[in-house]
């Protein structure tokens, strides 16, 4: 559903993402791990069409995002680590606005908005201005807004940072459910346990290079350890660091 074909990006002399070859299938839950500054956010921005790859191309549902950005963006949803909401709009007005951006008229959007308000447990405060929301409330509204147009691919940059345990569990459940219904989830995270519990496949990025890719079993085999993801992650990253030196 989303494939990177040698897509890379430099910022001046610094290589943020080395040419990346990766394909994520329909309904797959893919988690992207890596230390700070590894290039996770840049990769997500490339996939979202917010940055143009310096080389290679990115296909979303078979559409090259740089050739037909509007067509590709109709299939996508992107939630950055700090989602942007309009301060002076209520959560419901924001959801209506996002529905409009994707060409959904108000009458058609209303039942879905109500469903997501209930699903994300937002009924008590959805009509208040978003400027009064906590981080967790904002994150819930942002996630609900991305699902309104039934995207084929959801790109999430650290979606669980700053969420309380209940909201975290709620979000994980909804994302897993979306993947089961055929939506591709492409998520970057620092929370290794989340990746371990929810992802079908995991990719590890280090210094802009994809250094490991596979299911948990495949990563265990690569790292040569039957341990949990945390140990696998450190083994792989430390081995890569040793190679660089």
């Amino acid at each position: 559903m989303i494939s990177f074909e040698g897509a890379g990006r430099r910022f001046g002399s610094k290589v943020a993402v080395h040419p990346l070859n990766l394909s994520v299938a329909r309904g797959e839950f893919f988690a992207f791990l890596g230390p700070n500054g590894a290039g996770k956010t840049t990769t997500l921005k490339l996939a979202a069409g917010l940055l143009r790859p310096g080389e290679g191309r990115i296909l979303v549902g078979g559409i090259d995002i740089n050739v037909d950005p509007i067509g590709a963006k109709r299939l996508l949803a992107y939630v950055p680590d700090q989602p942007y909401l309009y301060d002076k709009l209520s959560g419901r007005e924001f959801l209506r606005f996002v529905a409009g951006l994707y060409g959904i008229d108000v009458a058609s959007a209303r039942p879905d908005i109500e469903r997501f308000v209930a699903l994300f447990d937002m009924a008590d405060w959805i009509d208040e201005l978003t400027e009064t929301y906590s981080h967790g409330m904002k994150q819930r509204v942002a996630l609900a807004s991305t699902l309104l147009h039934k995207p084929k691919v959801v790109l999430l940059d650290e979606p669980l940072v700053g969420l309380d345990p209940q909201t975290g569990r709620l979000v994980k459940g909804i994302l897993r459910e979306q993947a089961s219904s055929g939506t591709t989830i492409f998520m970057s995270t620092h929370v290794l346990s989340v990746a371990e519990q929810t992802a079908d496949r995991i990719g590890i990025l280090n210094h802009g290079r994809l250094v490991a890719l596979g299911t948990m079993d495949e990563l265990r085999a690569k790292a040569g350890t039957p341990e949990n993801l945390e140990d696998i992650f450190f083994r792989i990253v430390e081995a890569e660091e040793a190679k660089r030196k």
């Binding site: 990006r9 910022f11 001046g12 610094k14 921005k45 979202a48 069409g49 917010l50 940055l51 143009r52 950005p69 509007i70 963006k73 109709r74 996508l76 992107y78 950055p80 700090q82 989602p83 942007y84 309009y86 002076k88 709009l89 209520s90 007005e93 209506r96 606005f97 996002v98 409009g100 951006l101 994707y102 060409g103 008229d105 108000v106 009458a107 201005l129 400027e131």
Partner: protein
């Protein structure tokens, strides 16, 4: 929302209208702030109106040169406002197009880039042009009132100005687009060269304008020739601001010519415009049409160019702006560190660390130092050129008045800086209070550091400016002394007010200094700062006038100076000390 949006432009319009409606009807509204801003806005508008009214009344009394002088004044007014509009549009559209979180959000959605650019164009047009309209309306109303012009003049002027603002807006937007596309990658080098060049040109132009040597008396033919030759560009027929200025003049002529019924009035008018009534009316109508069409065509042309360029380049420019290397390194320099420590050696070590931290933040934040440099730099250029106006050879009372106005200009500029940059300082420390709040140093020390930084910094700049002004005006020693003391007192008072009120009304939830300033505490600080400066001006004027009127030979000038200096310092201690004490008490009690 009552119906389905048919397109993204309509949806974005709905977004703005809903945002506006919610701003007006929901959320926290401070009626005090709204009332104060409205009252000050109206007072400012009427002040400008009276100023323009006085100027046009004076000009209309200059029988033979009235028409030419008015045309000249309008050309200058629209030229400089137009120039400012291009710059403000470029700066605002850069921020709005390439640095705003909203643009990033919309860029990830299927909104077409040209629609996004158009949406941001309208936003920029509004944000940068409302002040132009605010300054333009009192001029037009004063002009119309003085000349006794009819409704057609006001309607026609509104149309001309309304169309004109699209030209600088489009130019500013196109500039931002091109800068992002071509300059981002080599930002630092190109910006330094371009900035230096622009500053040089600006200083040269200002110098040219100010260097009309004072030998000619104001409004004499020689003076007029000097002024006109230095401002030729403003009257170039190729300059859009000239079209709007001459269009307004032509509207006035047409309106006046059609309104004159008595023979003496018609004869007087003919003398003024040096032509026959019917010829003038016909030519004026033709000019209005010509200028109107020229403005309309150019507004459409430049807006269209912006639209076409955005369709081709907006995404490229956006990517370039996001990818530009903004990392700056500040390697440790022991020599520099030692030098800074030596400058502030008189401060206790912990206080010195806090002051140096604020100094580094200031120097590394171009938003702060560039505004500081531009405004105080312009004042410095003006003060250094005071002799061009031959003020120094005027009588003592005149020189004292100019010196007082210079002190007033410096103090008002300073008050805007202390409100905009010093007041939010403690609120901005909120996120760092996990560190400062638990460090083995008293909270009072943090407040004292902010106060010292503001006081010493503003004193160095303001005192240099006031001493320059006094030297250029060649005012007598006692006046210099009074002005110098007034400057110390004003810097103390403004710093005390801003730091003190910043501690009494902190806003630790907000990261954006403009939003902190626009809250209740910031508004109160601005009002009290303006009131404080006004009172200090009144005290300086009262004692300064006494010294000028009685003359330096009078036996009691020393006691007058002492009384003046004492009053200034006492009032400043009160106005700055009380909020500072309240701020210290508040910050000590603060629970984080």
């Amino acid at each position: 929302m009552t119906g389905a949006p048919a397109s993204h432009p309509r949806l974005l319009l709905w977004l703005r209208l809903t945002d506006l409606r919610n701003r007006l009807t929901r959320g926290d509204r401070s009626w005090f702030k709204i009332g104060v801003v409205t009252a000050f806005g109206l007072a400012f508008w009427f002040g400008l109106f009276l100023l323009f009214d006085e100027a046009f009344t004076f000009l209309s009394a200059q029988q033979e040169s009235a028409y030419e002088l008015t045309r000249f004044l309008l050309a200058i007014f629209f030229f400089f406002l137009g120039l400012m509009l291009v710059f403000s549009n470029a700066i605002i559209s850069w921020t709005s197009l390439f640095r705003s979180a909203e643009t990033a959000f919309l860029m990830a959605s299927p909104v077409r880039e040209e629609h996004l650019f158009g949406y941001k164009f309208i936003e920029t047009l509004w944000f940068s042009s409302w002040a132009f309209l605010f300054l333009g309306t009192p001029l037009i109303v004063a002009f119309g009132r003085t000349m006794g012009l009819g409704l057609s003049f006001y309607a026609g002027s509104a149309v001309l100005i309304g169309m004109f603002i699209f030209i600088p807006a489009a130019l500013g937007n196109i500039s931002a687009l091109l800068i992002a596309r071509y300059v981002s990658r080599f930002r630092r080098r190109i910006l330094v060269i371009a900035g230096g060049g622009l500053l040089g040109i600006a200083l040269f132009l200002i110098y040219q304008i100010l260097s009309i040597r004072g030998s000619a008396s104001p409004l004499s033919p020689q003076w007029m020739r000097s002024v006109l030759s230095n401002l030729e560009l403003a009257q170039s027929p190729l300059c859009p601001s000239f079209w709007v200025a001459d269009g307004v003049s032509a509207l006035a002529l047409s309106s006046r010519a059609s309104g004159l019924s008595s023979a003496p009035d018609q004869a007087m008018f003919a003398v003024e415009v040096r032509s026959g009534l019917s010829e003038v009316a016909a030519k004026a109508r033709w000019d209005v049409l010509l200028y109107g069409l020229a403005i309309f065509a150019n507004a459409l042309f430049f807006t269209r160019i912006g639209y076409v360029l955005s369709r081709r380049w907006f995404f490229e420019s956006w990517c370039a702006a996001q990818a530009s290397d903004r990392t700056r390194r500040f390697p440790e320099s022991r020599a520099r560190e030692a030098a800074w420590n030596a400058v502030f050696v008189f401060l206790p070590a912990r206080l010195r660390i806090l002051v140096l931290k604020d100094l580094r933040s200031f120097v590394r934040d171009p938003v702060q130092w560039s505004q500081f440099l531009i405004f105080f730099g312009l004042l410095a250029v003006y003060f250094l050129n005071l002799r061009s106006f031959a003020y120094h050879v005027k009588i003592g009372a005149w020189k004292a008045l100019i010196a007082l106005l210079n002190l007033c200009a410096t103090s008002l500029t300073l008050s805007t800086f202390t409100t905009r940059f010093v007041f939010p300082q403690l609120s901005l420390e909120g996120k760092r209070f996990w560190l400062l709040g638990v460090a083995p140093t008293s909270r009072s020390m943090v407040v004292a550091g902010k106060f010292l930084f503001s006081f010493v910094g503003s004193l160095l700049v303001s005192e240099s400016l006031i001493l320059t002004s006094s030297a250029m005006l060649q005012v007598p020693g006692p006046t210099i002394a009074l002005q110098a003391v007034a400057t110390v007192a004003i810097c103390f008072g403004l710093s005390g007010l801003s730091v003190g009120l910043g501690a009494v009304f902190p806003n630790f939830r907000e990261d954006n200094p403009s939003k902190i300033v626009s809250g209740f505490g910031g508004t109160l600080n601005l009002i009290l700062s303006l009131a404080f400066v006004s009172t200090m001006m009144a005290i300086t004027a009262y004692f300064g006038r006494g010294m000028v009127v009685e003359g330096l030979e009078a036996a009691n000038w020393r006691s007058g100076l002492a009384a003046g200096a004492g009053s200034l310092l006492a009032f400043s201690l009160l106005a700055g000390g009380v909020p500072l004490t309240m701020g210290l008490r508040s910050i000590r009690r603060l629970e984080l």
